[in-house]
Amino acid sequence: MPARDFADRRPFEGDRDLTAATEHLAELYRTMARIRAFEEAAERESIGGVQVLGVTANASAKVRGPLHLSIGQEAVAAGVCAHLQRADLLTSTHRGHGHTLAKGANMRQMMAELFGRAGGSNGGKGGSMHIADFSVGMLGANGVVAAGMPIACGAAHALKIRRLPQLVACFFGDGAINRGPFLEALNWAAVYRLPLLFVCEDNRFSATTESAPMTAGEGAAVRARAIGVPSETVDGNDVAAVSALAQRLIADIRGGSGPRLMHALTWRVKGHVSVDGQAYREADDIAAAQAGDPLRRARDALLAAGTPPEALDRIDAEARAEVDDALRFANQSPPPERAAAFTDVQTLGDGTWR
């Protein structure tokens, strides 16, 4: 019973707390609904946009190339980012739309970026895999597994050296823990006692390969503890639980604790990329992933707490309307001029591309 789970985790002292907790949960629900609506639209626009896994590309898709969807994982992004401030920094993975939206990025510019348009957040130079909005501290998705981790260390190291009060949230997947930068970055963050929250978004898959048979030992949290980074595991589909844990870990970090790791267990509902039909997964595995839908769980909890269903329907409708507006913006934005291929390469030697 999701509603009881929620109540058990957050002991309320009175109606006022209940109201505040419900309002917070509704905000988390709104963030997740925006991510879901954005990605469902992006998915529709991506069909036929990439040649991979035996699928042939066609030219009509507006979102081209690999599109990695976080559908089913929204609670991790929403729950963690609810406790970040605009000036806090964030590094993400190739599956980064949710982190970017939850950090406060502009949805119109994000959709235009997925469309490869001049009005995109990156001017069409990056696409989904490099989605970023530096203006809200979102330092970029990354096409290389675990590559954000050393960058997050450096950003946190700079904050510490500059005596700034912010922290860095570093998202990575369960596949990343088998790459060297995972070890290097955890060690680095612990050695220099950096203000850094590591978030292992464990969706149980490394591309099209199940992570468990590829991973020795007990996984991210245990590995991190062995390096001296305190770590806690959470139900990553329970947005209230993620939020509560993030709030506590982030408070520790802001208090000078040094790095912390959250191991969030979630489910990847969609394939590795949007056109991946997941023939390699058992039907009941996918069904279980869908059954754990974090939006439905949050919705059930909100209804159980007395939220009128119309209020939730309104949140859903507003999210869809925002995405429709973003789609219109992206459709109207022109493609980048060819000359833009030669800008923002480097300053010294600018123009000497041959």
């Binding site: 069409g124 590559a147 050393p150 960058i151 390469v345 030697g349």
Partner: protein, 324 residues
């Protein structure tokens, strides 16, 4: 402002110290920096600036460079030390996919003012994994500047210029130049992308960089004794490279010989030779190392070295074909 005699290593420490004094965003990180670096190129800095700005790191090359990227994005101007270029191969994702691509793929939202020090070159008796000259790999890479100082003065002025740049810079000192002494004028300002014409001759243009410049100068002296007048150009900067200076000189002499310590096949000498051939009527030749790993035994190591006699031979051959 002062002119002092100092080593190539001391010049680098002086340049970094001056930059750190004038800009508190400049920090240095890498293995063994707290003891001045393994070649003394950071000597005295931790004493002056403390361990928070001259940072001893674990042996984690990927994270040394990756952290450099993150520091740059978060407002610092980091210098990262790889101790030998060969070790930077453990950080190739961070150099190639992260530092070099950040500005472009994020549409210019950020800048990565990061100086990556990757000492190159044969370091006597250090064998295959501590001796490589991989500058061509990085010249091939959009998004980075590639610098190869050959003298103490260059190591001072060029490092200061690298620290003023807002690009990622691959800064390649040569391991057999650390102890080389020379005058350093701390007021001299280097312009990145400008070659130095060390001497002018009428018959041949020799282009080189890093330690091989000194070999080229020895060869030019021998050639002069034989009646051949050669220009010697120190390229200094591989990207951007000074096409105007090189092309103007080889158009005048009609013959270009590029000399580098790196393996000849696929080397940056090929880029210069091809550009010269495309844009001038000059004849071109390259001289680099054979495509073999650097061996340990002195006799094997010698097979990878380019000496002045080899440069003289290559020059004679080029001029003979030129005349024919």
């Amino acid at each position: 402002m002062a002119v002092t005699t100092m080593t190539y290593a001391a010049a680098a420490a002086a340049a970094l110290g001056a930059a750190m004094r004038s800009d508190d965003r400049v920090v240095a990180l890498g293995e063994d920096l707290g003891r001045g670096g393994i070649f003394s190129q950071y000597r005295g800095l931790v004493e002056e600036f403390g361990a928070e700005r001259v940072i001893d790191t674990p042996i984690s090359e990927g994270t040394i460079v990756g952290a450099g990227v993150g520091m740059a994005l978060a407002g610092l101007k980091p210098v990262v030390e790889m101790r030998v270029a060969d070790f930077a191969l453990c950080a190739m994702d961070e150099i190639v996919n992260q530092a070099a691509k950040n500005r472009y793929m994020f549409g210019g939202q950020g800048r990565v003012p990061l100086v990556m020090r990757l000492p190159i070159g044969i370091w006597s008796a250090s064998a295959a994994q501590h001796s490589q000259s991989l500058e061509a790999w990085f010249a091939h890479l959009p998004g980075v500047v590639v610098l190869c100082p050959s003298t103490p003065q260059q190591n001072y002025s060029l490092l200061r210029a690298a620290l003023r740049a807002d690009d990622p810079v691959i800064y390649m000192e040569h391991k057999e130049l650390w102890a080389r002494s020379g005058e350093v004028d701390d007021a001299a300002v280097a312009t990145i992308g400008r070659a130095q014409v060390l001497q002018r001759g009428a018959q041949l243009t020799i282009v080189s960089w890093s330690a091989a410049v000194h070999t080229a100068l020895q060869a030019a002296a021998q050639l002069r004794a034989e009646g051949v007048q050669a220009s010697v150009i120190d390229l200094v900067s591989l990207w951007p490279w000074d096409r105007d200076t090189v092309l103007t000189d080889c158009a005048r002499t009609g013959a270009l010989l590029v000399v580098h310590e790196a393996v000849q096949a696929g080397g940056f000498g090929a880029e210069i030779a091809a550009t010269a051939a495309e844009h001038t009527r000059c004849r071109v030749a390259r001289l680099g190392a054979p495509r073999v790993p650097v061996g340990y035994a002195a006799s094997l190591e010698a097979a990878s070295r380019i000496d002045a006699a080899a440069v003289v031979r290559a020059a004679r051959e080029l001029l003979a074909t030129h005349a024919a």
